[in-house]
């Protein structure tokens, strides 16, 4: 880099930071969340107070939180990355020990005023720590086995804890999200090739172990895989979600059946219609056009993140932005693939749209970090 380029760089300070926020990104987030309000209003059968209103409040709080996080210099976030990760890890252990049990899985810590899902927090703090790690690590060491082993351990420990809850969906997100960040940071591609091929081997083992004494997954998880492979086999119980969800989606057609006109949603054929399966209602009522619009909004969010990252010469901010974009991508693509019957039902909500407090807040904090990286990048 030339002397000249160093010279022209500056970082905005004080109230001027506000102007340097990534406003298009913020606008996109608000647009997606608004789609969510509309859908929550619809699935509640035109009752705003049931899900839509609390969700709006949460988004409002989340938005303010995002701006607040964005105003804090990015180096502060880098410096507390390790602490944030440690705290989430401790919370995860705490759920293991005294968490509430909801829907058969142990996932929450009751804070009194809200129920916190430490696994949500972990998705972000893991990305923070990995970004900080690769910010610190010299490039020539990046593919050294020892320096690869450390982030692998940082990923695997929370993944194992989350799997024990058991929350397969989050475990997959942590694993893939963390792995993707390592890849983008520049770890040698041979590692990934090895992991992917052994992953395929493990998959074979999972199926081979079924019914034996060393069975690797819970019976209900196998059941979900069975359901995925052949939803028609058990349409009343396990396959119900998928079959009904596909019917709702498919019956939407080009333009959908109209707002609040979806019979699948109206007649309660859809399970979890305000959380994990909310996308089906959208697709039923607004059709292909509506679904593609949402997909485009999501894709735009990712694109704005990536373009902000590519123009950022602060390595921490760059990796953090890419990592969060990756996590966000995984969120919505896994959820959509799940309701469309492309992958088994793993219980991942649709980001910014599904009803749920801690997921929304954590996501907005994450975008706060993206904004902070954007505001404080050297220009």
């Amino acid at each position: 880099m030339s002397y000249l380029e160093y010279n022209i760089k500056f970082v905005p300070t004080g109230p001027r930071k506000f102007l340097y926020l990534n406003w298009p990104l913020a606008l996109l987030l608000a647009a997606v969340a608004s789609v969510g309000f509309l859908m929550l209003y619809s699935v509640a059968g035109g009752d705003i107070s049931r899900w839509a209103e609390p969700q709006m409040k949460r988004f409002g709080v989340g938005f303010i939180l995002m701006i607040f996080v964005a105003m804090v210099p990015i180096y502060f976030w880098r410096n507390i990355s390790a602490v944030a990760y440690g705290v989430s890890l401790m919370l995860l252990v705490a759920v293991e020990l005294f968490g509430d049990v909801g829907m058969g899985a142990q996932r929450w810590i009751n804070l009194g005023f809200m129920r916190l899902q430490p696994s949500e927090l972990m998705k972000i703090t893991l990305v923070m720590l990995l970004a900080a790690y690769y910010d610190w690590l010299p490039l020539k060491k990046i593919s050294h086995p020892l320096w690869v082993a450390i982030p692998v351990a940082l990923i695997l420990v929370p993944t194992a804890l989350v799997l024990r809850q058991p929350d397969l969906g989050t475990a997959i997100l942590l694993l893939t999200g963390g792995g993707a960040l390592m890849f983008m940071a520049g770890v040698h591609w041979a590692y990934f090739l090895a992991v992917i091929s052994s992953g395929v081997g493990l998959l074979v083992a999972v199926f081979e172990s079924r019914g034996t004494t060393w069975q690797l997954l819970n019976n209900y998880q196998y059941k979900r895989i069975d359901t995925f492979l052949d939803p028609a086999a058990d349409p009343l119980n396990a396959g119900y979600h998928i079959t009904q969800s596909k019917i709702a989606l498919g019956s939407g057609g080009w333009t959908g059946r109209g707002f609040m006109q979806g019979t699948q949603s109206r007649l309660n054929f859809l399970p979890e219609k305000h959380t994990d399966f909310i996308f089906t209602t959208l697709s039923e009522e607004f059709g292909f056009v509506g679904a593609i619009t949402l997909l485009t909004l999501y894709a735009l969010i990712i694109m704005f993140c990536i373009s902000s990252a590519l123009s950022n010469s602060n390595r921490y901010g760059q990796l953090l932005t890419l990592g969060i974009a990756m996590a966000f991508f995984l969120f919505f693509s896994v959820n959509m693939a799940m309701v469309m019957g492309l992958i088994p039902v793993v219980g991942v909500p649709l980001p910014l749209i599904s009803y749920g407090g801690s997921a929304m807040l954590v996501l907005m904090i994450a975008f706060g970090l993206v904004q902070s990286a954007h505001v404080h990048k050297p220009r």
Binding site: N237, G252, R266, A299
Partner: protein, 638 residues
């Protein structure tokens, strides 16, 4: 770590390359998702639209009829009756308050149930129908059905509900069912989807709970066409579930009724067992309560009166209650000594009213002493000192082993709730549990069924049956399941010396039939019904004043065990009257009456009773006859 400018450039380039690669992958995946959407929503749209129309067909679970429970004569004890109720589904109802207001003009709504229902509606998922009116009449039900269009989300429901035909008589044996609670769901891994049906009933106590797997049955499914507002239009088809298995008990409902009625308001328990097959002919525990109260949820006041009663009606004392067996344990001590070859039936000990063991004085109940006592006399007059001497020579390990051989201190797994295992103490046990060494005084206490020894009425009945037959009789409560005969409990021979057993039985015979026997007042007169038994009075606390003068709670327990007829035993009976003071006065008369009732299958003739008692017995028979259940209208098994 400081980085050089070149390294920085290098890493920037690497990240850019890699992230563009990942970005490209993401674009590809988004494209795939879009393609899938296009495939489902555009290409296959017609097919799915058709399915969505067809989806107006609602599939629901049909709860199976629960298996019925019969007594050994085929009389139904637990059946399913139709009950009508009205539910409201929050999501369909719209304005709940308005719906309730309309509904209350048609049906009388119970405020307590309504308040509970409104709370449930807040808590549960919106598509779950919640009961707002229960046990409504047919008229009310049809009124609601007629006004259905004006009442969205309101549905009249017909369901099967459990009914216990003989009420309190079988409450401790059969138990009762109740709605599935969150607690129940939490205990079961991977619960049957049936359990999530509103108001589905599962066994909570007794046989209903222990044989839930047999009784529940398998759910059927029903396909119903619904209109756009979700209301059922017509049924398309249904696959019936499988009804739960019918269970037939070994208990005779007439005898069971007699046992309960005879114990009356006493806090007591009685068990009648067939010594040849182990069949339990009656298992009574008094006082009892009406299990039907629990089926749809008991009122707070009713429940409170049950829990606060010091006679503990909720407890099945026959199998859950454990008591020091007192002198009824003497057969065990005696058999242990005889089998160990330590004494013979003719050997005598001198009873002077007490025995000093390690500088402690152990008294006989008869302070003046019995003089020279042999085995038969020791049983007949219940001399304590004789057994103190036996215990010192035989040792606790032999006595405990004999107790277990006779069925004490081990759990007999009859399908009732919380069956107690009692206690046949050993040196090891005391060391382990109390952390103290066994002392001679403990053996002395145990020899007369005091101290650490504990037994339930069921165990005492089994013990008596085993003495009467010399076989390891096991109690059997279920005769058939779906008509299939269950294995009996006749048992293998215990391998005890028949001569020794004969001496014990002779002693028990004299307890009742000898002029100096402790239970002479409770004999029967004819040769065919001769009773052989043993009284027991077990101390609750040590006291100096007469039993009747202390608080009820501190009085001695009264026990009696017997078998009959003496020369060809058919049944064994154990009776415990809590705080009844004397085995011979409180327990033996009840046991005798139950024995005669069981042998005759009806009220015995008055000629069985000593002449001085006949007037009182006549009145008692008349009184108890009035409490008998109506003869069943349909006598045969379904």
């Amino acid at each position: 770590m400081r980085k050089s400018a070149s390294e920085k450039t290098q890493s920037q380039a690497l990240v850019t390359r890699r992230s563009l690669l990942v970005g490209g992958l993401q674009v590809g995946l988004v494209g795939a998702l879009g393609a899938r959407m296009h495939f489902l929503q555009v290409q296959q749209s017609d097919q799915f639209r058709f399915l969505a129309e067809e989806n107006r067909i609602k599939v629901s679970l049909l709860p199976p009829a629960r298996g019925q429970i019969f007594d050994r004569t085929g009389r139904v004890l637990a059946e399913n009756i139709q009950s009508y109720r009205i539910t409201v589904t929050r999501e369909d109802a719209g304005d709940i308050d308005e719906t309730i207001a309309k509904l209350s003009q048609l049906v009388e709504l119970d405020p307590a149930l309504l308040a509970d229902a409104l709370e449930q509606m807040q808590k549960r998922r919106g598509d779950v129908p919640i009961t707002v009116a229960d046990k409504v009449s047919w008229e009310e039900l049809s009124r609601v059905a007629a006004n259905a269009p004006a009442l969205p989300g309101v549905e009249p429901q017909v369901a099967l509900s459990r009914h216990y035909t003989l009420g309190p008589d079988f409450t401790h044996v059969v138990g009762y069912v109740g709605p599935v609670s969150d607690y129940d769901l939490g205990r079961i891994e991977d619960p049957d989807p049936l359990l999530r049906l509103p108001r589905f009933q599962i066994g909570k106590t007794g046989l209903e709970a222990r044989r839930e797997a047999n009784l529940r049955g398998k759910a059927g499914t029903q396909r119903v066409e619904v209109n756009a507002s979700g209301r059922e239009v017509r049924e398309l088809d249904r696959v019936e579930g499988t009804k739960g298995s019918d269970v037939q008990l070994t208990i005779d409902h007439n005898l069971q009724n007699y046992v309960q009625a005879r114990m009356g308001d006493d806090s007591a328990a009685a068990v009648v067992i067939d010594v040849q097959t182990g069949d339990l002919l009656a298992i009574g525990s008094a006082p009892a309560f009406d299990p039907n109260l629990f089926v749809n949820g008991i009122s707070v006041a009713d429940y409170k009166s049950l829990t606060e009663d010091d006679h503990r009606p909720l407890v099945a004392k026959s199998v859950q209650g454990t008591y020091p067996p007192g002198s009824t344990f003497k057969m065990v001590t005696a058999l242990a000594a005889l089998e160990a070859g330590i004494v013979t039936a003719e050997d005598t000990f001198r009873c002077v009213g007490h025995l000093d063991v390690s500088s402690q004085k152990f008294h006989c109940w008869k302070r003046g002493g019995h003089g020279n006592v042999n085995l038969i006399r020791s049983l007949r007059e219940s001399c304590d000192v004789y057994y103190y001497e036996l215990a010192l020579q035989t040792g606790i390990e032999n006595i405990s082993a004999m107790a277990r051989r006779l069925g004490l201190g081990e759990r007999h797994d009859v399908p009732m709730s919380a069956v107690a295992s009692g206690l046949a103490p050993t040196k090891d046990w005391k060391k382990r549990v109390k952390g103290e060494d066994w002392v001679l005084g403990d053996s002395v206490n145990a020899s007369i069924g005091q101290g650490f020894v504990l037994a339930s009425p069921l165990q005492l009945a089994v013990m008596t049956a085993r003495i009467a037959t010399g076989r390891a009789v096991e109690p059997r409560l279920i005769k058939t399941i779906d008509g299939e005969e269950q294995p009996t409990g006749a048992g293998e021979p215990l391998g005890l010396n028949e001569n020794n057993l004969r001496q014990i039985r002779r002693g028990m015979f004299e307890v009742v039939n000898h002029s100096r026997g402790t239970a002479r007042g409770s004999r029967s007169l004819s040769k065919e019904t001769q009773i052989a038994g043993k009284t027991g009075t077990s101390q609750v606390i040590s006291r100096r004043v007469k039993c009747a003068e202390v608080d009820w709670k501190q009085r001695d327990h009264a026990l009696f065990v017997n078998f009959a007829p003496y020369d060809n035993p058919r049944i064994a009976v154990a009776v415990v009257v809590e705080h009844g003071c004397g085995g011979s006065t409180a327990a033996a008369p009840i046991a005798r009456d139950i024995t005669l009732q069981a042998l005759y299958g009806d009220d015995p003739p008055l000629s069985e009773y000593p002449s001085g008692q006949r007037g009182r017995i006549r009145n008692q028979q008349k009184k108890l006859r009035a409490l008998r259940p109506e003869p069943a209208s349909k006598g045969s098994r379904a």
